[in-house]
Structure formats: C-alpha cells, structure tokens
Symmetry: C2
Subunit: 331 residues, 2 copies
C-alpha cells in the first residue's frame, strides 16, 4: 500500500468532501454521495445526471457545470451508486423538463440507475437513459450494446450538456446523445497494474516489459498481451483498430483524445499524440480538435487510451460550445 | 521499463511536437525546444520567459498563454535548456519592453539561463531574472536563496503573467514577482520512486509502506523517511512545517495548492485537501482559493506537495485575473 488515505471505508465520502471544498464556488453537495452544479436545477432545461463508482476521478464526479452535467452521483470505489442516491441526483437536476441519465454500461450501474429511474418516474419525473459503450475490444460491432463505457465519457457529456444548455427539447436531446455515443469509439492499452485503494492489492498482473490491449478500467481482462511497443506503434495499433470499427472514412472530421489512466506522464501522452496526428492524417481523416489529459482513470494504472469522436455539423456545433466544470474546461 | 516512448534520445523533441499539435490554436513553435503563445511578442508588455528540464509536464512547457508566460524553453529530461535556446525564447517574448526570466533554482538552470541572459543583453535586450525557490526542506529560512523551486511555479507564473498583461512596468513587475516568490512555500512527500524514462531505472529507493518528506522532483534526497502516514496526518505535517517557515500568521489569506507528483490519484489529492482545509482554518488562516492537480510532476513518482501562497491586496488582484494556458486555466 502506497496510498495517502485515511479509513478505507470513508474513501468516497472524504474525496467528495475535498472535491466540494476545492470547488466551493462551483458545486454544491446535495447528499453525501451527490453533487450538483451550483445553479441546478436550471429552469427550462433538460437535466443531465451522470455517475458511477469512485476511483476514476475526475470521472464522473467532476464533470458537472456549464456545458456539462447538472448532477453527479458517486458510488464507493469501483462500485455503482445505490438507487436512492441516483434518485437524489435526479431530483437535483430536474427543473420540470425531465432528466437524462448518462453513464457507463456496467451491469451494476445499469441495475442501480434503472431502479433510481423507476423511483423518479413513480414521483412523476420524466427520466430516460443513454448508456455509454465506447470501448471496442470486448464485443464485436454487432454486439455494440454490450460494450463497456470508458474514455469517451467527457466528450459525450459535453455534447449533451452543451445541447441541453442550448435548450434542445427532451426527445431531440436524447437522440443527439445516442448518436454521439455511437460516433465515439475507444481502445486502450495498459503498461502496469492498478491497486485497489482499500487493500493495496493489484487488480491484475502485468509483468514488467509487457502491455495489454483492451484492459478495462477496473482491471477487466484485455484482448491481447504483447511485449512493450514503441509509442508510435502503440498509437497506430489503437487508431487502426478504432477506425476499422465504426468504420471511420476518408474525409471524416474527428475529435481525437488521448486519455492517461493514472500513472502515465503527459510526456508519454504527447508522444503518442504526435504520431496519432500523423497516422490519422495519413488515413485521410481531419483532426478537428484534440484532447489530452487524465479524464477517466483507473487508480495508478499506467497506459493510455485513444477515443475518436466522429463529428457531423450537429455534434460539432455543441462540441464547440464552452464547458466549465472542475474536471473539464473548454473555452 | 513501462513507458510509452520511441527513441529515448528524441523524448523532449517528440513531446514538444505532440504538445504543439495538441494546442495548435494557442501556441507556436519558435525553435525545436522553444514554444511561445501565439500572439507573442505582445506590444507594450514586459515579456515573461519560463523553462527548465523536460519530464515535469505540464511544467514549464504548458504554462504559456494569456495571464501566464510568453515563451517557454524546454531542455532534455531533467536537464537544463542550453543558452542558445534560452536566447531564442527571450527574443520570442521581447516586444522592446524587456523580458523577465522566471524559473526554478537549480545550478544547471541558473548557469544556462544566465548565459542566455548575457547573450540577450549583448543584443541590447533588457533582461532580468527571478528565481523560484519555494521548497523549504533543504535549507533553513536564513538560506532561502539556496532553496529549490518546485510546486509554486504555476502560482508565481500566473501572478507574473497577469501583472505583465495588465501593463505593470518592468521594475515594479520584477519586485512583485520577487515578493510573490517569497510569499510561496512548499513541502512534499513521496510514496514511491520515479524512473528515468531513458533507462527505466528508479532515481532512488523507497520501500513499500514508507514515505519520504522533502524529496526533490528529480529524486533528490529528502529530510525524513517514515512509515506511511494517513492522509490527514500527512496534510497536517506538510502544512504545519510550511506555516512555521514564512511564518504565516492568524488572519493570513492564502491560496492553498495540492500538487500530485505523477502517479497520485485525484482521490488521494482530494482526501488530503479535505483535511488541509480543516487544519488551516484551525490555525486561523483564511483559505481564499484552492488549486488541485498535477502541475509539477516527477514522472510517475507517487505523492503530493502542498504550496501555500500568502496573499496581499496586490498579489490577490493579479491572482484573480484569468489565465488561459494549456497547463493551467483560470476564469
């Protein structure tokens, strides 16, 4: 164990305490596990609720604010939030225009968010769900709805949040978010294990000098373990698998994202980004915008993921709008 | 070795390539190791040049932009930039109003920046230097000028950049920056080693379950190795040592910063932040603003540092101004 924590049982609550103190002018605490942007609920606007297990910060906790979500519900580490907490978040986000739940496709999350959604509907609140399932490795495209959500999250949340802010009505907003999820594809590679903060134990084993493609953000097994590749070869492999998947075509405009999983240096991310740009241009694709940073982490796991979001005029319009959240700022 | 790189000899150049591609609308490449904000040099404004060895990203490379520095010069990993590169950066920042060099106090940096400064003066450019030396552990307060610069960097750069942007004349600006450096104190703790990216070898040894106070950002020995403490005890120890140093007094307003060195999760940083807030308030200090993130890293070293910046009305005025740089945004 090398982590700076107190009682492991209080991890999620204490980190949310710290988050709220750090951002006291921007967010408010609705309940022990629920935070909302200061001005929520916002009159005339469809609410966006995000959430999931703790341990992936800034995801989802920190993606609330202007042009992002209205409320986030945070579970224990790598554990879905319970339905009562989901209900609290829905109420915090609802101004009478309904709420869209937007989170990653994991069985535990789906079960708990669905129950929270049911509770809210029983109270007369209009609620619908869009699942994020951008990670391409575990299932083929024809089973895309079974895929996990990973590092497309903040891209999708921003498009959704900006469109909600712009006043898009409920059904159109939901359709836009579904299209944006469909247009996002991700694949990652890990170069070291991560440990569970409660126990200090590694969630999987990865020998020095090896890397694994398709590793999940909770240590889920990947699809292939190989000897450590160069940054350029890694960028090419990640991008080429993603491009085949949608498929992306020549002339497509994309937002290209490099996400660090935790222990990855920005030095490495920039070096991977460098070749990714070159490779995407060689494939005839236009890199409209780039994102680089730690957005969806898996504790101190080393490695990177690539996400490509294919743009059309509608997605681009909302992507270009500002975002101001503790975890993601765009001006 | 677990890092995603290509030829280790090209690390710095390739990471700067990636940085410029990622931020192509905000920065420009002046020379292989020198970047400037797009609009530099800015007429009527004193230029600010920052820089140092690579491997600490986002420091210093990414702190150029509005309300930050005009140009940054990046050396090889953990190695000072050479004088010719410093000269390139000075020229990129100078609009005829002179340039202030602002960087961390390490012997190699001082030697190389001083030579670059001499070259620029020979070309008729007005150049002065302010060294950042916020790290309190290695020397007592009476030898403060021998101290290392660490995680106060982006706070100082922002105050300097905002004041320069506001049109403060050269001598007043230099005095303000010196005062701001004096008002910043930092102390950190490491919970794991970092490796040199060229070799994959650790720069020091830290057994599992131990932590070291005062460790430098290049693996310089610290002042005390102890068994891993809780987050709360760590926050208290870091803050109390810093408070004694200036000394900070009851009623002082501060900006309180938690910096992650690389592999530290935001979860841990928030938990440390939580208790830091409580402790500073107990000491009668007013936390005016907080910062949390990875600003000055030491590759994948785990651990955090605390920086406190004591505010007066002048520093506060410039701190409150906006910053827009790839590595630090403030609105």
């Amino acid at each position: 164990m090398r982590k700076l924590i107190n009682n492991p049982e209080n991890l999620a609550i204490e980190l949310i305490d710290g988050f709220c103190l750090t951002n006291k002018n921007k967010v408010k605490r609705i309940a022990p596990h629920v935070c909302a942007r200061k001005e929520a609920p916002i009159a005339g606007k469809v609410g966006i609720v995000i959430g999931g297990g703790a341990g992936h910060e800034p995801l989802f906790l920190e993606f609330i604010g202007k042009g992002m979500a209205d409320a986030s519900v945070h579970g224990q580490v790598f554990t879905a939030p319970t339905p009562d907490k989901v209900l609290d978040a829905i109420k915090a986000a609802d101004s009478g225009n309904g709420v869209i739940l937007l989170y990653n496709n994991y069985a535990g999350d789906v079960m708990n968010f669905d129950m929270g959604q049911d509770f809210a509907r029983m109270e007369g609140i209009k609620v619908e769900t869009v699942l994020i399932n951008d990670e391409i490795s575990a299932f083929p495209p024809e089973k895309a709805e079974e895929r996990r959500g990973t590092t497309a999250d903040h891209l999708v949340i921003h498009v959704a949040g900006a469109a909600a802010e712009a006043g898009l009505p409920f059904d159109e907003l939901k359709a836009l978010i579904e299209k944006t999820v469909f247009n996002c594809r991700s694949l990652g590679v890990s170069t070291s294990e991560c440990t569970l903060p409660e126990t200090g134990l590694a969630t999987f084993e990865l020998p020095e000098g090896r890397m694994e493609f398709g590793m999940g953000i909770h240590g889920e097994a990947g699809i292939e373990q190989v000897d450590l590749m160069t940054a350029d070869a890694t960028a090419e492999r990640l991008c080429s698998d993603i491009i085949k998947d949608l498929p992306f075509k020549k002339g497509d405009e994309v937002v290209a994202l490099i996400n660090g999983y935790g222990a990855t240096t920005r030095m490495e991310m920039f070096i991977v980004m460098r070749h990714m740009h070159k490779y995407l241009e060689q494939q005839g694709m236009a890199v409209y915008d780039t994102e680089l940073g730690e957005f969806c982490t898996a504790q101190e796991m080393a490695g990177v993921s690539v996400t490509l979001m294919k743009l059309d005029s509608e997605i681009k319009k909302y992507w270009d709008m500002p975002a101001d959240s503790p975890g993601f700022v765009k001006y």
